[in-house]
């Protein structure tokens, strides 16, 4: 028995030693993304964006003349796994630069680890403003804040004389951020939230909720959601003949899968996007074409954000002239640049203040930017067509 113990003990150490070695002549960039779990789809897109940046920067001769290598792990869409992985990236893989995970809740956990090690982290997958309300000095966002996601749509609704809003959202950091933004904006516009409910899971059966919403006869249905729940809600809304002038959801409608899963039922549904290939931003179209050639579909904003995060890091390292943590942090605070993802400019907390958000709508089986008018590729379709008349 003693021997077995010894064996285990040594096995542990041998194992431990295997992971450690990192070559000195490389710049190692570390990240975790969801490759399994509920953020699987979006996490994968984001990773493909990073990877395209890594390829390109190496083709350009690397960072500071050193080759860039990406180390990534799967955080299973779980905050606690994300925290462990960033601990591993920092202490075991000894990465030089960090890119944040996908989703606000995993970022909440991961950014605490980065803060503990005083390690700057560029986050391309999180938008809940509470991330930047903790006094941290090491988390730099690319995304427009969740709280502002629905502003344009609510303003549009107001302009059409709409008053009553039904608001449903998942009970995690990002959807809650969207919801609190909707409530604040509705109040300032003099609109009324006639129905509000949180739900716990993407696989929720929304029937009871929809029956109640129907009884309140809202003008607008607004969802603080991710992909699976927004898809399920629209499907069940159709089944139960829930009608309103506007259907708007966070995340889901901004992704190609939304149209793929819902087919014709996606028509007219509005959503938000951080970025679209059609936007008039230098480099956006080129990135989108390359991405499409490689992965066979147009990139959504999650891929664009991943790519943009790489470019932001690149700009910061160039500005800092080193991968030294303190210098990179300062450079990120000072930076005001435009990547293929749009403008990057943060305030003193690291929160994004330079980039606007956009509104999309599914029209004729395609996702089009409809708001703001300056970026629109199609005119907004209003009102949402009654299910019975489709």
């Amino acid at each position: 028995m003693k021997r077995l113990w010894l064996l285990m003990w040594f096995a542990g150490f041998v194992l431990a030693a295997v992971g450690g070695a990192a070559a000195a002549q490389e710049v190692v960039v570390g990240t975790s993304v969801a490759l399994t779990g509920k953020y699987d789809r979006t996490g994968r897109e984001q990773l493909q964006g990073f990877q395209m940046w890594v390829e390109e920067v190496n083709a350009r001769g690397g960072l500071l003349g050193r080759k860039v290598r990406l180390v990534h792990y799967d955080d299973e869409s779980k905050p606690e796994t994300g925290a462990k992985l960033y601990e591993k990236l920092i202490t075991d893989d000894k990465v030089d630069l960090l890119i944040g995970p996908y989703s606000s809740d995993v970022t909440m956990a991961a950014s605490t680890v980065a803060e503990k090690h005083n390690f700057p982290m560029v986050s391309s997958g999180a938008s809940a403003s509470e991330i930047w309300e903790r006094g941290f000095k090491n988390i730099f966002g690319l995304y427009t804040l969740a709280e502002t996601y629905m502003d344009q749509i609510l303003e549009f609704g107001k302009s059409k004389g709409l008053k009553k809003i039904a608001l449903v959202y998942e009970n995690t950091a990002f959807p809650r951020g969207v919801a609190s933004g909707v409530k604040a904006k509705a109040k300032s516009l003099g609109m009324q939230v006639v129905y509000e409910e949180e739900y716990g899971k993407a696989s929720t059966d929304f029937t009871s909720m929809i029956v109640k919403i129907k009884a309140r006869k809202p003008d607008m249905i607004v969802g603080g959601s991710y992909l699976p729940d927004s898809t399920a809600f629209v499907r069940q809304a159709k089944e139960n003949r829930l009608t309103a002038k506007i259907f708007a959801f966070a995340v889901g409608p901004g992704l190609p899968d939304f149209g793929k899963n819902l087919g014709l039922d996606a028509e007219g549904v509005m959503g938000n996007t951080q970025w679209e290939p059609t936007l008039n931003i230098p480099g956006a179209r080129e990135f989108a074409d390359k991405y499409k050639a490689k992965h066979g579909h147009e990139p959504g904003y999650h891929a664009g954000g991943g790519y943009g995060a790489g470019q932001v890091l690149e700009a910061a390292v160039k500005k800092a002239g080193a991968t030294d943590r303190d210098k990179v942090r300062q450079a990120l605070f000072d930076l005001d640049t435009v990547t293929a993802f749009g403008r990057f400019k943060v305030d003193a907390t690291g929160k994004q203040v330079g980039k606007p958000g956009y509104t999309v709508q599914w029209i004729d089986g395609e996702r089009h930017v409809v708001l703001p008018a300056s970026a629109a590729t199609r005119k907004i379709v209003y009102p949402f067509k009654d299910w019975a008349k489709r």
Binding site: M1, W5, A16, P79, M108, K116, R134, E170, N171
Partner: protein, 313 residues
Amino acid sequence: MSVRQLAVAAALVAAAAALPLVASEYHQSFMLQLFMMVALAQAWNLISGMTGYVSFGHAAFFGIGAYAGALLLQYGFPWWLAVVKGALIAAAVSAPIGLLTLRLRGPYFAIAMLGLNEVARIVATLWVDLTRGGSGISLSPALLPGLSVNYYTMLLLAIAATALVAWIHRGRFGLELRAIREDEGAAEMVGVNTVRNKLSAFVLSAAIPGAVGAVFVMYTSYLNPSSAFAASLNIQMIVMVMFGGTGTVWGPVLGAGIVMLVREFLWAQFPALHLALLGAMLLVVVLFLPGGVMSVFARRKRMRPEVITRESR
């Protein structure tokens, strides 16, 4: 415990205590998680291994301790007090629960505990004012002790849990618990106070995860209902004990070590595969090796752990 076992134990403890002097932070993190699993496995062993009442919901106490710890740290309590109170709160909650659920036999107890873990998760989700619900609690690094504190605290908990099981195993209390496992009715007839014994074991086995949960949250700094009351934690506790040897002192330690190593090899690359493997391991042990790996090593021992084959019918 024989002199030889004591020597092995002492050597293990000394090695673990000296490890931070030589190992990197990451390896310390790994060991910390190993200690955590040892402590949790021993807690499960204490109630389910010794009495035969299989709990499918011990993660509930882990989660309660984790939430207690996180909230106390936020209210400004020192970390050690948060850990102690995490254990006490989990124990306090477990007493009435145990009183009610331990009346249930066999599968009913198992199902009730499974339900309990879900109820705890739902309470944590819906009690937004206290727990912030699904948004989770993110602890500021300023409130958290360093890695070495977490490391030694977790080590201490693993040692304490193992020592507790060893001590109970040797004494009259352990004998009575095993009597309950073999035949509860008969045990009662010969004068064993089954209610008090089961409840004591249950409360002790809840206090350990309570403390572990509080240390865990100091280590990860973030907590939400699904990480606090994770079903995978229940799976791991059960598999580790079953694999090592149910109702034994060293089985859970051995099981935790093996499972954690398997995990470490497979986890980063193949998350689904490592869990599938745990499932396969559980099947193999239940079907072919009811005494766990320990039974292979302990053939000569007088007392063979056979909770599964001899549990009362």
